[in-house]
């Protein structure tokens, strides 16, 4: 049975076939036929954003909080180019996104037509794959392929560019089941010999550590379950990258906290001194490794990753295992149990004693202040007043992001959405919109800085229009805090363009958008302000005026290894050498 329909109708039909319930988008000339079809149906909800960058970050928030692909619909030219930052963000953080971009009609391509851009050319290096569809007969199959590629293997963004004449023309619809997706099928099962070798290493290791990443989250909730089982059964300590927070519960006794440049002292020291590092779905990012030639010098390293190009890219590993985290952990658990559930008990006991000594340093302690709100204190109070609730947290990028990662506790996967790889300021507000669309009854909080928040603040309009009660928790230091911190440490305290003098009145801004706002500067009033934000039945902007010159610690200075952490202000003098200053 073949079905004839227009290309525009095919787009909507293919999205329904893929089980899509929500599209984030913005219309325009070349996309009008598709928007006409969106108008004439009720199965797919369209969320009208205020800027296409907002659409793709919202789709990322939706995708990260559900595990399903996020879908974006934009017009040609500027509509498509405005998604570029989000595409790159999704590529670096491995988030499944499908962008449908309209294009000028095929016969006008190459003529510099109105709102024409070489969208597939521009987005080629920032998508996992992209397509320009020139025939309506191929449109439905291409959309199904785009969903397949975005969600299979290491997830990532895909883009389909659809010329306007292809949307108008009639063609034959290809169902999801009939679409040819066979040739893209990355293997998910790990090599069982390698997994057995890892089990053997785990039995002998005196100082093992699990170093987990976003791959555990991407592999699905089952992978997080298996990780918890594995950690519980072995008693090995576990740390995580920024992207992997929530895969292992923060309340677990084996949890060391986040590692990396602003990671916890105990996590970084354990990484440096371990004798067996088991990397599960992380990629040895430069924020994690610090100085490469002094990275964990005494350890054997195993690396579980679905992407072969992650193996040996930065750090040479002794035991690579290519496969999906859930599949590999399942096999690893089975094999390790079958071999007698052995661990080196004496070694582990000493190892935990050392770790407990590092924990006793209490690297997250900070000086409290009764007159000024310390940013760390603000996050601590937010944690205290919201923990235990069904809570989704997004962030912008900078100091507040690191403080949120340090002081908030995540018990479950898919509840923490932050721009890790690309470090996209302006990510958090639209991402909170996307997460709230996916979870209408949950508490969704965007922990933000004043500078980042302004980058996509237009999306408050989206939140108000669609009655999305997102909570904007702005740590306002009137600075680009992380930039300021680096200028202090590296550039002789010359604060070049890292402060904001003409910030808007966030309370009036909230009122102007049609929601509610409050400003708080007294530590004694902070709890009351947070509670008002949580109790308010709608979007809320809480402008928390915090200490302006607080620095984010602990910190591994650029160009230094894990065991050279700075724990506070006193240790910063001359900490970063000239070779470190060239690094980002």
């Amino acid at each position: 049975m073949t079905r004839q329909m227009t290309g525009a109708k095919m787009v909507v039909q293919a999205l329904k076939d893929q089980g899509v319930d929500t599209v984030f988008g913005y219309p325009g000339g070349a996309a009008l036929p598709i928007y006409d079809e969106i108008f004439q149906q009720n199965d797919i909800r369209h969320i009208l954003v205020r800027h296409e960058q907002g659409a793709i970050h919202a789709a990322e928030g939706y995708a990260r909080s559900t595990g399903k692909p996020g879908v974006v619909l934009v017009t040609s030219g500027p509509g498509a180019t405005n998604t570029v930052t989000g595409l790159m963000d999704a590529l670096l953080d491995s988030i499944p996104i499908v962008v449908l971009s309209a294009q000028v009609p095929t016969f006008m391509i190459g003529t510099d037509a109105f709102q024409e851009a070489d969208t597939v050319g521009i987005t080629r290096p920032c998508t996992k794959h992209n397509w320009l569809v020139r025939e309506t007969d191929k449109l439905a199959e291409t959309i199904h392929q785009a969903f397949h590629v975005a969600t299979t293997g290491r997830p990532g963004p895909t883009l389909i560019d659809i010329p306007k004449d292809v949307q108008f023309a009639n063609g034959t619809y290809t169902t999801r089941a009939k679409a040819d997706t066979a040739h893209y099928a990355p293997p998910v099962k790990g090599d069982s010999d390698a997994i057995t070798e890892l089990a053997a290493l785990m039995e002998k290791a005196e100082r093992p550590i699990f170093y987990t990443g976003g791959g555990v989250i991407n592999s699905g909730p089952h992978a997080s379950q298996l990780l918890r089982e594995l950690v519980g059964a072995t008693g090995f300590p576990v740390t995580s990258t920024l992207m992997g927070l929530g895969a292992f519960p923060a309340s677990g006794k084996e949890w060391l906290g986040m590692l990396g440049m602003h990671g916890l002292y105990e996590a970084n020291m354990a990484m440096h001194d371990c004798d067996l590092m088991i990397n599960i779905g992380a990629r040895f990012d430069d924020r994690i490794t610090g100085r490469i030639d002094a990275f964990s010098p005494k350890s054997k390293k195993a690396h579980i990753d679905i992407d072969p190009s992650s193996i040996n890219k930065v750090i040479h590993v002794d035991l690579p295992i290519i496969g999906d985290v859930a599949h590999v952990l399942e096999d690893l658990l089975r094999i390790w149990k079958a071999r007698g559930r052995k661990v080196n008990k004496a070694g582990l006991k000493t190892w935990w004693e050392e770790i407990d000594a590092w924990r006793a340093v209490d690297c997250l302690s900070f000086k409290e202040n009764t007159t000024t709100i310390q940013p760390q204190y603000a996050i601590q109070r937010l944690e205290e007043l919201t923990k235990g609730r069904e809570r989704y947290v997004t962030t912008e990028v900078g100091q507040h992001q690191m403080w949120a990662a340090q002081y908030l506790g995540f018990e479950d996967p898919n509840h923490w959405m932050t721009s890790g790889g690309l470090g996209t300021m302006g990510y958090g507000l639209p991402a909170s919109v996307g997460a709230q669309v996916a979870h209408p009854d949950a508490l969704v909080i965007n922990v933000a800085g004043d500078a980042s928040w302004l980058m996509n603040m237009q999306e408050m309009g989206t939140a108000v229009q669609f009655r999305l009660p997102v909570k904007q928790f702005i740590l306002n230091n009137e600075r680009l805090g992380m930039v300021r911190q680096w200028q202090e440490l590296l550039h002789g305290e010359r604060y070049s363009h890292s402060w904001s003098e003409s910030l808007p009145d966030f309370v009036k801004l909230a009122e102007a958008f049609g929601c509610k706002g409050r400003v708080v500067s007294d530590p004694a009033e902070l709890d009351d302000a947070i509670q008002e934000m949580l109790d308010y039945d709608g979007p809320f902007i809480l402008d928390v005026l915090v200490e302006k010159h607080a620095n984010c610690f602990p910190m591994i200075p650029s160009g230094e290894p894990h065991n050279k952490m700075l724990l506070g202000e006193a240790s910063t003098q001359g900490a970063i050498g000239s070779s470190g200053a060239v690094l980002v």
Binding site: V120, R124, P125, D307, S309, N312, K313
Partner: protein, 187 residues
């Protein structure tokens, strides 16, 4: 130095390439990629090399299976063993790339390149050019009273040697196809 006066390894044109150009143990490998013959596939491969700062010493691409829409891209590249491994893994990640073969490590391979050389001159030089062409089994595919165009097939080294000999005899211009390569044996 080859006939084109391009120093080995100087084709690393990426602005982002900050690696030590004189790193130890740089190797030359010939990679063959079987890809879908679709719009943009070559741009994906080249973009990967440019964006990540890898070398392309030579690149050849043509359709090899019209019905199956397959093309073969042969790339000669240089890098440390770790970089070569990373290049292969990154190529394998490109969705329309079906197979990546490292002909340098997968047993012995035949490598051939075709070149056209325009040599102009008269008298003894012209006679010497023709004599050397005969020794190298190069064919004259165009001739005037002052010039020849020679067609020569062989390994890149053979073409380098022939071009070096032609230079004092009046080499005007050279066009090279880049390397095509195939593994030896029945499979």
């Amino acid at each position: 130095m080859s006939a084109l006066r391009i120093k080995k390894g100087s084709s690393r044109k990426s602005a982002y390439d900050l690696r030590n150009p004189n790193a130890d143990g740089v190797e030359t490998h010939t990679l063959a990629c079987i890809v879908d013959n679709e719009a943009g596939v070559l741009a994906r491969v080249i973009g990967l090399f440019a964006g990540r700062g890898y070398n392309i010493d030579s690149l050849t691409v043509a359709e090899i299976d019209h019905m199956g829409h397959r093309s073969r891209i042969t790339i000669v590249t240089t890098g440390t063993p770790a970089v070569i491994e990373q290049i292969k893994a990154q190529l394998g990640r490109i969705v329309p790339v079906h197979e990546v073969h490292d002909l340098t490590v997968e047993g012995r391979a035949v490598e051939r390149e075709l070149a056209l050389l325009k040599v102009s001159g008269s008298g003894d030089k012209r006679v010497e050019a023709l004599r050397l062409a005969d020794i190298f089994r190069a064919n004259a595919v165009d001739s005037t009273l002052e010039s020849f165009v020679f067609e020569i097939t062989g390994t890149p080294e053979k073409i380098d040697a022939f071009a070096d000999l032609m230079r004092p005899l009046g080499l005007v211009e050279i066009a090279r196809t880049g390397v095509a390569a195939l593994s030896r044996g029945a499979e």
